[in-house]
Symmetry: C2
Subunit: 185 residues, 2 copies
């Protein structure tokens, strides 16, 4: 069987273009410390890795058309030469979150937490890519892997973005969160 073309493996170990400069648990259990990270399309087996996390990019789950049009107009892609800083944030939400209906999750996501509106304020400086883990074939330790990329001078703005999202009602449903800061070199 061929592999989902939207699947990516985040391989933490000793190899890859991204050097880990800080790794910490924000909530719940941490991940093993790594030296370097590489992101590989598809599913890979890397016996010498400390860990391999998988996620798949997918269709929009909450964003509306007007919001999407604003995002597309302002955002830039990954791999900009100046974006030498990255942060990988694996997140697991609670069973209570997943038991909510679509309208209840959207209400918390945007109306109460302004998730999209806050993110928009930091475009185009902070590029972002979301990967879903929950409906993969193998059981995953996280529900989402969010990948952020930005230039060194955007770091204070990024820290502000993160603090605002973590203070939101939506984040009260986060059961496990790890933050891994990386430099491309």
């Amino acid at each position: 069987m061929s592999i989902n073309p939207r699947l990516f493996s985040f391989v933490g170990g000793a190899e890859g273009p991204w050097r880990s400069v800080e790794s910490r648990a924000i909530r719940g259990e941490s991940l093993a410390e790594i030296k370097r990270l590489q992101i590989v399309p598809g599913e890979v087996v890397v016996p010498e890795a400390k860990w391999v996390l998988q996620g798949v990019t997918s269709n929009e789950r909450y964003v509306t058309r007007p919001e999407k049009d604003l995002l597309v107009a302002k955002q830039e892609g990954l791999n900009r030469p100046e974006a030498t800083r990255a942060v990988l944030i694996p997140i697991q939400k609670s069973p209570a979150w997943w038991a909510l209906t679509q309208d209840e999750r959207r209400e918390i996501f945007e109306t109460q937490s302004q998730h999209t509106r806050i993110g928009l304020e930091y475009l185009p400086a902070v590029a972002r890519k979301l990967h879903h883990c929950r409906d993969l074939t193998g059981e995953q330790p996280f529900d989402f892997l969010t990948w952020f990329e930005f230039a060194p001078e955007a770091t204070p703005a990024y820290d502000k973005l993160l603090a605002r999202l973590r203070a939101s009602v939506e984040w009260s449903y986060v059961e496990r969160e790890v933050e891994i800061r990386l430099v491309r070199e």
Copy 2:
């Protein structure tokens, strides 16, 4: 790695409690004819099977809390002794569907197509379970596997339900659909 506990494999071949009585392509390519079907938790390799389709049950994508409460109040589970008829409907939707934002898909799903409202009319006679395939690790031929179970005398009602859904705006986004009718024996 352990397997997603919400994953099921639909194994079409010569084995299983469900005997195939009719199989036809509604749109696009058909599936190979089978004698029998079995539904197995997890991911299985069955070399002698004609085909194996996988899907994962997941969180609600469109249903609102009031709709969910109505569904839960009226619906019954699978495996009722009298529910000896089943239909497996694998569906693939178009790239245009998946490029829509959440509000646009919800608008087509319920406001224009009354998907949930129509389904409610046939409860509790027709039990239903939806499996998602699109975000699995391996590339899948379908986006959804819907499984229906009902008693023989509910067959005309079920046929009506199916005809109403297929006449909806939502169905104009269906690119491939197969219908496999089964009898438990």
